[in-house]
Subunit: 186 residues, 2 copies
């Protein structure tokens, strides 16, 4: 598998549908890193253009990789080691292309609209298991800017359970998506 | 579906394998309530014997159900309304029996050991879709006390992805478990 995850803090929507750079949520880094490690993701990109937010994210990572956290909980260390803090989505995609020798298939996730480039979980899973380079993008705050969705190769269907309610946290949505795409169970 | 979820704060293990009452993590309440709402869970029991922790949990819920939070985000209100704060696991099971007119099938989750009462996700799903009353138990901290596991009717298999690593947060483990048992996607 050559699977990557990107957590986008810019450009995303705020509650009033304005495009903003959202703040880092430390628990998102922890939870998504742990899920990424579980599902054998190669690298988890935390994407924010803001210097102070990049510093915050790196400080959290250093604590768990080199600081007290590394001694306190080595499982957390193994997860947090997957994190790369980068200033832009373009930078993340360039870095994946450099690491893999080819550009990734970009699959965006969206809680509401799929447009005309929808992809089923089954099809996306097939691509991942065929060893295609794939990056899954998750938006923080009120979701990915329309321009990111439009620039992606594919858009995954929103996660619905049994009700017409899809307001999961990005942490849990990322975990469910990874399980649907990579999980194996009876 | 007659599905219930219990988040157990006592009795659970701490890092040193001692039995303790863990502290409420507000984000667990939010995330698991949102997942519960998504997957049509009837009630989400937050189980803690500690008075101050019960008060904290109820304060969080009140904020989102009656306070400013209810006006700020009605989707959160719909999720948090599923929460019941109760002092013991026995109390939660009694309450489910009262609501449903029969005792629930108790299915525990555990990150490591399944013992001799293991149940597959497929079998558990069948029971849920056959409209059996089922409660899923999740442990906080370092997991459910052995006595709770031994007292359950069944134990679900641990969540493994592609690696020999299963150190998910309880928030994400609950979300993945609900998706495996109730989710429906292509």
């Amino acid at each position: 598998m050559r699977l990557y995850v990107g957590l986008v803090h810019y450009p995303v929507y705020n509650k009033n549908h304005e495009i903003v750079a959202s703040a880092i949520t430390p628990l998102d880094l922890h939870d998504i890193a742990r899920s990424a490690r579980t599902y054998d993701v190669r690298r988890f990109f935390v994407i924010t253009p803001l210097d102070d937010q990049q510093r915050l994210a790196k400080k959290i990572c250093d604590h768990w990789i080199k600081g007290y956290g590394a001694r306190y909980n080595r499982h957390r260390k193994e997860a947090i080691e997957l994190v790369s803090v980068v200033p832009s989505l373009e930078g993340a995609i360039k870095e994946i292309a450099r690491l893999e020798g080819e550009p990734p298939m970009v699959i965006a996730t969206d809680a509401s609209k799929q447009g005309d480039r929808g992809i089923s979980y089954k099809s996306a899973k097939t691509s991942i298991l065929e060893n295609r380079v794939v990056v899954l993008l998750f938006g923080t705050a009120w979701g990915l800017d329309r321009a990111v969705i439009n620039g992606a190769d594919y858009v995954l269907a929103p996660i619905f359970g049994k009700k017409d309610y899809n307001h999961l946290s990005v942490r849990t949505a990322a975990a469910i998506t990874l399980d649907r795409l990579v999980g194996d169970f009876e």
